[in-house]
Each structure stands twice: as structure tokens, then as C-alpha cells.
Symmetry: C2
């Protein structure tokens, strides 16, 4: 008797062989047909019961949500819905699911809103949509590792708890093990952080970039892939307080190389999931199309999910300087007709989501890489161009998602970096180690950050970022 | 002109071809021989300069730590130390490294203590030892993902910030964005956590297991691999406040299956790094052997590093029940001669590190899986055996490292779990979602946790856990 997964059996040709398979009942029709799912695939295995020879008590306990095991023979199915089925010899009930209680949960066999699914995040992986999203997420994350490892990048775990707050002023969560009810104080009444676990104030990281740079300037090319945090009070469908970020960093690489890397990387991972998540993506494609049908025509997507993924794969990302983009926006219809909430009047304006969407979705109709942004709207570590007013920054904008990648060539010149930090009142003592990398064998280097959940959002066609991470953390919500 | 990595060129037979290679100077002898390293391998590329035709100013700037690029021809080397070398046509200095300043750092070409390396954690990846450790760490982490993905496990990112503290009472870091200088208070003087970001008290996770279980009971088999935290004040060579943990969880799997999985998994990743990190492991093997030579004979390792890795690969882990282990320990020499700090007198004793080491290193001389521990020294979620006093727990003990894996079959019976929680005063309301998994289609399931840094420690032969993670977090230390 071979123990098998549903996914294997659905692909199997070992007819008349005996198998055992275990999973959860998705439906039970006519006291005969069990649709069994074990999480290995979105598809269910039809298990056909000989109800006349099955104990009445067992039959009653085959209910939606119950955990069962069946032993039986693999057969070609007579039905048109499936290629194979199991002719069951024996059913075992492992865990019941009381139908009256199941009714109150999202396990009950009817359509539930995504909001309701979120409230039962501990069960939602047992629904078709969420199961598919989580399998795709898993494969995507492996594609990320595979890409970088194949290209000889070294994976680096930069610290989560950080004592340096140079980057995220104001948006960082504090980490402490002090007793908040009885905080130790200095003589002047301030909090005595020397008594805290780390002997100083510490926060949750907003980015591993600065530490990642120190590793790239030794190992050559590295990537991080870990959780990052923002305590920003943004209750939107695109923001999470805790999310996973991918940050490659490459020594001896300039901004053009950085763009090439980002584009090649994104295309690789899309291609990977198209190959490895066929069933799940087809389901999600269908799901999106059904959602769309319920919408007014004007709000429907121009492309289906799979079509959109192939479109990104098959086309070059359009590379446009910030200055060109401003020109396009200034002369655009929505700007002239004052349809933008923020009108673009002059060079130097920070682009809003509405502008990015216009460029990507209306003007270029393709992913866009914007580069060479004004220095004063970008971070201190980005390399100053010869013009003295722009920096070698790039953002990659995706249809429907907006910014999916933010990166730059880093300022490798010690003196320029010091001047910039002085101007922005960033304490050199805080970043002595970062400056050291510019003292000892500095070189041109570049990197970018990609918010993993934005990528999952794009690939799965979901519309709320809370539906692409197992247990979302957002303002006023840290359940489970 | 082909841009190439040092690792490629050292393996190349493309003699007389022109290459460009960029990296950092490790040494410069006789104004002629540059040892160039770019992080792609532990080995350096010999670049031979024609100093008579090279600008004096350039020659002076080729110093230890400088970032340079060379263009030249790949040749077979006349020297005995290397197979190939680059005959240099052109040198470019990207970033200088002032020799007077380099002297004060760990980049200077002499032996530095591991303690000193830790103080300059931003530069230590440019040393042989630490570069090797970090490359092995990267490959090990990919081996982890590869193993589980090949075996159809789904990767799950369980939450880092958690509102549930059922497991880690007292050892968790608090996460907050309240202003500690001005904490909002309720009328009774207690802190008003409703005003905090998540509207409640939150902590950093100590384990993703409970959330992981909810996913396994839907997706079938999952694994996590992410950071976990302990605010325990343990200043030892085996403890970190922030470390990475791997936690697989499998539905329909009992403790025996769990042991099989753990052993198979560990052997896979060891085999993987033996195949993919040959040069680095040979270096680390040699390093350990040199360290050993400096020690008194009694303290030396019985096996070399590579020998030890092969030994674990080639032998079955010894499976021993807690009860058998207590018998062995009670009758052991160190117990009878009162050499143990904690003498083993009766069944029920919690095993200390000295006992574990005796079992692994002296008695069995192999990795040991201890199982069926007394219920009262183990966690509430472990499955109670029929004897009513032991639980289906397992610990895997490794030579030199001690506990590397802790796992169990989980208590899948709702009533037994509820009784246990009541006895331990764990609030059911805190874990309503966890209990739900036992209400709706519960089943036998098992999983384990493996501290990734302990694995890296074992594989690299390093002796302090702070030397196998990029930026260690320990009591009074969150630098960088």
C-alpha cells in the first residue's frame, strides 16, 4: 500500500494499484463522492465510496472539513470532471468537523468575503483562493533564492533588531525588555536605556541595505530576504506593518547594471511560477476574471492575470528619466484638464501614485523604470550625478501595483557622503561602520529593494496585500 | 574583454584570453604579485604586474584592502602555489586603502582574534575565516529551502510581531510605538495599550510553530525559516537574542515520521554543503586543526571537521527513549563518581548539557535522538502518551553542539489539549484559533524546530555562535 499525495494521484497512470491518501473533505455528494484535498494541489481527488458496504456511522462523519484517510484503487474516472478517481475500500475518520459548528466558519461550502477570510486567517488556507495564493507565494520565494544562488549571490541575514536608526526616523517600532510600568530613569528624568537588554535604544529594521552593503563590499554580490517593518499608520490595501523584503547588493555595478539585474530577476521569478504553479495560476486567473465580470465595464482589468504575466515577461521594461517623465506628465491630458489631485507644475515634484499609474497604465502601457530622481526627494546614500541635483536612483513601476522596486547606485565617495550626511544632520558616529566601507577599498556599487508581498500581489492578481501574507500586521491588528 | 569572477578564472582553461576582474587586494609582493579576492571564493587570483611599465603612482596605491580592477591575459602559472594567473596589462584603482589606517583594522595582514573581528563585524567578511563561514551559511540556507521544496513542502512566513504570548512568557521582547517618555494611561494607572500601534501588547515571536500548525492542517506539509527572538540574559557561546529558525510541520505524521524527516533533512543539507562548499570547508577543516594543535592534547577534537561531517552522514542517528537515557546516565561513571554538576538520581530529571554531551560524545559517540520525555518538563502542545506521564517529544543532540533539534508529535485531541492548558493556566481565549484546528478536522501531526546558527556552528567548526551570524545580537550588544 503506497501512501500518496492528491497531486501525485491526479497525475498518475498507476491504474489498479492500491493507494492510501489522507486529507480533508471538501464535499460529499450523494453519500458516494468525496472531494478530498490535502493541500498538495488546488484540485481535489474524487474518492468513490461503496455506501452500501460502508458503516452508517462512518458515512455520517464524512462531512465538510473532516480529516479522513481512504484506502482504495486508482481507476480511470467515468465522470467528465476528472481523469482519475479512487475506488474506496476503507475510510478512516481522523478528525470530525461538526456541521453545525462548520457553518459558522469559512470552511462552510459557500462564498465568503475576503474580509471574513481574514478574520479566520487560521482556517483560510483551507479555501481554494487562499490555498492557491499561499502555494504561489511559497514557489515565488524559492524562485527568489534560486535566481540569486544560480547567479552566485550570497544570502545574508542582516539584523532585525537594530541600534542604528539613521534611515527610518519616526517609522520604526521600538524593541525593549524594560518593564514599561516601572521604567528605569536617569538623574535628569530621561529613560535609562543602559538598563535595557541591549544597553541602548533599539528598533525593528526598516531595511537591511546598509548592513548588506558592508557584505557586498567583501563577498562581491549578496542578497537579503527577510522581514522588515514600518510603524506607519497607513490603513491601505498596499501597506503592511510587517512585510518581507528582498535586497540584492552588487559591488562594481552601476545603475544600468542594477536595472538589468532587477529586470532579469523579475522575469526569472515570473517565468518560474508560470512553469511551477500552472493549476494555481489558472484558478487565480479565472477568479480575477469572475471578479471583473461583477464590476462596471470601466473598472475591469484590461488584461487577464496570465496575459498580464506573459506581457511583462515578453516586453522590455521602459527606462525613462525622471526629467522625461515630468515632461510627459506636465503635458498629459489629466494634468492639463486638472484631473490629477496633485498637478505637476515643475521639475522637482515628488511623483504620486496617480502619476505613476498614468505613466505605466496609460502612457507606456508597460512596466517602467524611472531613474535619476532629484536628490532632495531621495535618501542620503544615493550617488550624486555630475549635474549636482539628481541622484542615481531608480524605481520600477508595475501596472496595478505602482512601485515594486526602489533602488540606486550608492554614493561610494567618502567626502561626498560625509557632506550629504552633514547637510541632513545624520550623525557620523551612528554610521561609523558604514563610512568605513568608503574608507577601505570603496567602489561603485548598487542594489535595490523589492517588497515581496507586492510581487505576490502582482502574480496572484489579488487586490489587498493582507490577502497575500499568512497573518497580516496592520494598524490595530496583530491577531493570531 | 570578458568580465569575470575570481572563482571562474581559477577554474578556467581559456588561456591567452583577455579578462577583466575586479576585487580587493589581499597582498602585494615584490611590487609584482597581487593576490586579488572578490568574495566569489576563498582563494585569491594571482595577478602579475609588469612593474617597469606601470605608473609609479598606481603601484603605490596597490595596497592591502584597496579595490582595484585589472585587465590582462589568463596564463598557466609558473609558480607552484597556483594553477593559473593573470598577466596584467592595465590596473585601475577604484578605492584606496590608506596603509596607516588599515593597520588599525582587521584588514591588516596578520592574525586577529575572533573577538577583535566581532568588534569590526562590518569588515570581517573580508577575512578568510569569516568569508568562508558566510559562504557556507548562504549555501546551507539554500540547501534548507531546496530540501523542503523538492519534497513538496510549502514555505510559510509566520508572523514576527505577535499578540499571543502563550509560549514565551518572560523571554519575549516587547514591540511598541508608544512614546515611552509619555505613556498613555488608563484610569486605574495601567498602560493603555489600545493606543499602541496594534491596539494591544505585542512581542517578538519565539517560534512560528503554532501558526505553522494552522497551515500544515490545510496545506499538508509546510516549513518556516525566519528570525526568532529570546530576551533571555544568556551570555554564552551558544545563545543569541536574535537567531534564525527552521520549523517544518507535517499533517498525518507521527513522532517516528518526524524523526525520519529530521534525520533525512540534516543529512541532505550536510551532503549539499560538502558538495558545494569544498574549498571553504577544506579551509575551515584546516583552521580547526590548527586551532587544535595549540590546545592541550586532552582538549583537542577527536575528529577533524570534514571527518565529523562524513561521520554524521554515514551513520544512523541513535534513537533512545528518555527512560533508557536516564538508566544509562544513572549508571554512568561520571554519575557514580559524582563528576556531573547535577547528579542523575531519578526518573523525571531535566537533562543538562553535561548529560547530553556524555550520551553523545562518550556513550554513543554519534548523534542521538532522545524521545518520550516526562510531560512536566515539556511544552503544553506535545502529545501525551498512553502512560499518562510522558509526551511524544524528541530532541536531537549533536557532538560539540548539544541540542540542535527540538520537536514533537502535537496533541491533536481537543479535550486533552484543553485539560493541559487548564492545568498550566493558559487562557483558551488567547489561543482560540489554535484550538479551532482541533475542532475542525484535526489529525495526528508533528514538527520540529532547528536553530539555524547551531547548524552553521556544527558545519563550520566555529566555537562561538556569534561568529556564524553577520551581526550578532546578545545582551548589551546591538552594534551595527
Amino acid at each position: 500500500m503506497t501512501q500518496a499525495k492528491v497531486a501525485e494521484l491526479l497525475d498518475s497512470n498507476q491504474f489498479l494499484q492500491e493507494f492510501q491518501v489522507k486529507g480533508w473533505v471538501r464535499s460529499f455528494r450523494s453519500n458516494r463522492f468525496i472531494a478530498l484535498n490535502d493541500g498538495s494541489t488546488i484540485n481535489n481527488l474524487q474518492c468513490v465510496i461503496d455506501f452500501e458496504n460502508t458503516d452508517e456511522d462512518i458515512l455520517k462523519r464524512i462531512t465538510v472539513g473532516a480529516a479522513i484517510g481512504v484506502k482504495g484503487t486508482l481507476k480511470e474516472s467515468a465522470g467528465s470532471q476528472q481523469r482519475v478517481e479512487i475506488e474506496v475500500n476503507e475510510v478512516k475518520i481522523y478528525g470530525d468537523a461538526n456541521p453545525e459548528e462548520v457553518k459558522l466558519t469559512i470552511l462552510s461550502p459557500k462564498r465568503h468575503s475576503l474580509e471574513k477570510l481574514r478574520e479566520q486567517a487560521h482556517l483560510r488556507v483551507r479555501t481554494n483562493t487562499f490555498g492557491a495564493v499561499m502555494r504561489v507565494r511559497s514557489k515565488l520565494s524559492f524562485a527568489v533564492h534560486s535566481y540569486f544562488q544560480q547567479n552566485n549571490f550570497h544570502y545574508v541575514n542582516t539584523p532585525i533588531i537594530t541600534g542604528s536608526d539613521a534611515e527610518g526616523a519616526g517609522e520604526m517600532f521600538k524593541v525593549t525588555n524594560l518593564d514599561l510600568k516601572n521604567l528605569p530613569k536617569n538623574e535628569d528624568g530621561s529613560i535609562d536605556y543602559k538598563k535595557d537588554f541591549f544597553g541602548k535604544e533599539t528598533n525593528l529594521t526598516v531595511s537591511g541595505q546598509l548592513e548588506g552593503e558592508t557584505f557586498a563590499l567583501g563577498l562581491g554580490q549578496i542578497y537579503t530576504f527577510g522581514p522588515t517593518f514600518r510603524s506607519e499608520n497607513s490603513n491601505t490595501s498596499r501597506h503592511l506593518a510587517e512585510f518581507w523584503m528582498i535586497e540584492p547588493e552588487v559591488a562594481f555595478c552601476d545603475l544600468d547594471g542594477n536595472m538589468d539585474l532587477a529586470e532579469d530577476f523579475i522575469k526569472y521569478v515570473l517565468k518560474y511560477v508560470l512553469e511551477h504553479c500552472k493549476d494555481d495560476l489558472e484558478f487565480l486567473d479565472q477568479r480575477l476574471s469572475n471578479e471583473d465580470k461583477a464590476k462596471p465595464k470601466a473598472e475591469r482589468s484590461e488584461m487577464g492575470l496570465l496575459e498580464k504575466l506573459h506581457f511583462v515577461l515578453d516586453n522590455n521594461f521602459k527606462r525613462v528619466s525622471y526629467t522625461e517623465a515630468i515632461d510627459i506628465l506636465k503635458n498629459s491630458k489629466p494634468n492639463k484638464k486638472k484631473k490629477f489631485n496633485y498637478l505637476i507644475e515643475e521639475w522637482g515634484a515628488d511623483l504620486q501614485s496617480e502619476h505613476e499609474r498614468f505613466l505605466v497604465e496609460k502612457h507606456f502601457k508597460s512596466p517602467v523604470i524611472l531613474f535619476d530622481y532629484p536628490a532632495n526627494i531621495k535618501a542620503f546614500y544615493m550617488r550624486l550625478n555630475e549635474d549636482g541635483k539628481t541622484v542615481r536612483a531608480m524605481d520600477i513601476l508595475f501596472p496595478g501595483i505602482g512601485e515594486i522596486v526602489g533602488g540606486s547606485q550608492r554614493e561610494e565617495r567618502l567626502d561626498v557622503l560625509q557632506d550629504k550626511m552633514k547637510a541632513l544632520e545624520i550623525d557620523e558616529k551612528e554610521l561609523w561602520w558604514y563610512l568605513d566601507t568608503r574608507r577601505f577599498g570603496t567602489c561603485v556599487h548598487s542594489g535595490f529593494g523589492l517588497g515581496f508581498e507586492r510581487l505576490v500581489l502582482f502574480v496572484t492578481g489579488m487586490s489587498n496585500i493582507r490577502d497575500v501574507i499568512p497573518f497580516p500586521r496592520t494598524p490595530q491588528n496583530a491577531e493570531f
